[in-house]
Amino acid sequence: MNYTSKKSLTYNPSLSRNIGNNSLTIISALFAIISVLPLILVISYVLIKGGSYINLDTLILEPEPPGDDLLSAGGIGPAIIGTFIMTVIASIISIPVGVGGGIYLAEYSKSGKFAKFIRFGSNVLAGIPSIIAGVFIYAIIVSTKILFGSMFSGIAGGISLSILMLPTIIKTTDEALKLVPNDMRRAAFGVGASKFTMITNITLPAAFSSISTGVLLALARAAGETAPLVFTALFSRYYITSFDDIFYEMGSLSVLIYNFALEPYEAQNQLAWAASFILVVVLLSLNILSRWISTIAVFSKK
């Protein structure tokens, strides 16, 4: 008999194999707890600490210049509007371009060299640090004053956010369309539909929920980005009052958090926590919403 360990079927806890197995299981459980801990800590601090500074004034007032006056620090109203405006600008640019690019990859390209290159390129673009997008927009828009002579502006901020959204949207559109069964395409062609009709009436609607999941996730990421805005949109303490104001400095929640967290005054720090509360609640809701959409999509396909 060449196998020495074949004796009893009884579980022997002192066997080195069993000790090793149990300790590894405990270690992996411990790692899982450590991994979840930061989320719980960050969320609870932001919700409790940030939530405690939320009131109507905080939500609508303009922030006052930094100073240690807790009673008249103002609020984060313009930053909420600014984040919203710049995210909308970014979406207006990146959603059509991203979905269009995804349609090209999934419906037209097959697996040609150009498509391979575009897929590779969007992976590379996705991996480029977000601050580089800011540097790039600073160089081509801010420092050149190419947009009607304006330098730091909401529109420059929105454009730099769109660079970050683009690869995510292309990728999810491409993958969502590839999951649409080819039978549907054959069926559409079979009744004489043109390719344009087939895409707009059959495959895009079929992939709609997966695409919107990806768009929502890209949107959530862009809304929380700071690095590309720090020297493109800069910051402003004032509400915008006319359309022209998007060509001037614009405040955002994320840059407000960055600026005010580093102020030595308690009053500004409190506003930073309040802004974090709003940002985290909105972003987590977007994430949960996108998850919910994708589960709905799975169920409706069954």
Binding site: M1, N2, Y3, T4, S5, K6, S8, L9, T10, Y11, N12, R17, N18
Partner: protein, 267 residues
């Protein structure tokens, strides 16, 4: 040879075994004694629980979430579902060959050596690899490419490699869950020959949906059937209809449904 020896203890006996997945009963009240060094086959229509039962014999069902067993599975006098049993030890004594050939993504040599090492093999590894592959009747095809991936073999050869891998750990019992269902007739024939050879050293339990195969390879046959669980639910519960020597089973079955199944009226 086939004369039943009353004194001999069975290798594995199922004592009132019922298995459930979550809330649905898959198979219920199975009693069955499996003799040492004999081939026992489980036959029956699909959904009758024959695969579920064979997987219960070496606790592979532990891998399936929500799978529960009541009753007891006795292996050499020990209830392998008792609290203090180590399922890993059980699987070292009761090896298994699966429906789909599943070699590891390693070389042919490593496929055999991995299991042996896991089981604490002390002897000459080269010799073990050659012996096991020879016993599984696949040595000639493999001997010149032991360092190539297990996936470089054909389906039938892969399955015999998996049998060799199981033989190498020297279990007492080998379970085979429809080992030929993914194979062509020629490979099937080779595996059946292998089973004949293996009977000398191992107790073999084989699940098959092929009655001719059961007739050709096995000494004992267990016929499982299904019954409607509930008119509303529409689910099926498997149960053991008849268990006897294969010879008797195919020549003079005691139950009407066995007769019907064997003569091809359903299934």
């Amino acid at each position: 040879m086939n004369k039943k020896n009353i004194e001999s203890t069975p290798s594995v006996s199922l004592d009132n075994v019922s298995i459930t997945y979550g809330n649905s009963v898959a198979v219920k009240n199975v009693f069955c004694d499996i003799e040492k060094n004999q081939v026992t086959s489980f036959i029956g229509p699909s959904g009758c629980g024959k695969s579920t039962v064979i997987r219960a014999i070496n606790r592979m069902n532990d891998l399936i979430e929500g799978c529960k067993l009541s009753g007891s599975v006795i292996f050499e006098g020990i209830d392998i579902y008792a609290e203090d049993i180590d399922p890993v030890e059980v699987r070292r004594r009761i090896g298994m060959v699966f429906q789909q050939p599943n070699p590891f993504p390693k070389s042919i040599y490593e496929n055999i050596a991995f299991g042996a090492r896991v089981n604490g093999y002390k002897g000459n590894m080269d010799q073990l690899v050659e012996e096991s592959l020879t016993k599984a009747a696949v040595w000639d095809e493999c001997k010149d490419k032991l360092n190539e991936s297990g996936y470089s073999l054909s389906g039938g050869q892969q399955q015999r490699l998996c049998i060799a891998r199981t033989i190498a750990i020297e279990p007492d019992v080998i379970l085979m869950d429809e080992p030929c269902s993914a194979l062509d007739p020629l490979s099937t024939l080779k595996i059946e020959e292998t089973i004949h050879e293996l009977k000398k050293n191992f107790t073999i339990i084989i699940v098959t949906h092929n009655m001719q195969q059961a007739n050709r390879v096995s000494d004992y046959t267990a016929f499982f059937n299904t019954e409607k669980k509930d008119k509303d639910l529409g689910g099926k519960i498997g149960f053991l209809v008849e268990f006897d020597k294969t010879k008797n089973m195919f020549n003079s079955p005691k139950q009407k449904s066995t007769q019907d199944y064997i003569s091809g009226k359903f299934g």
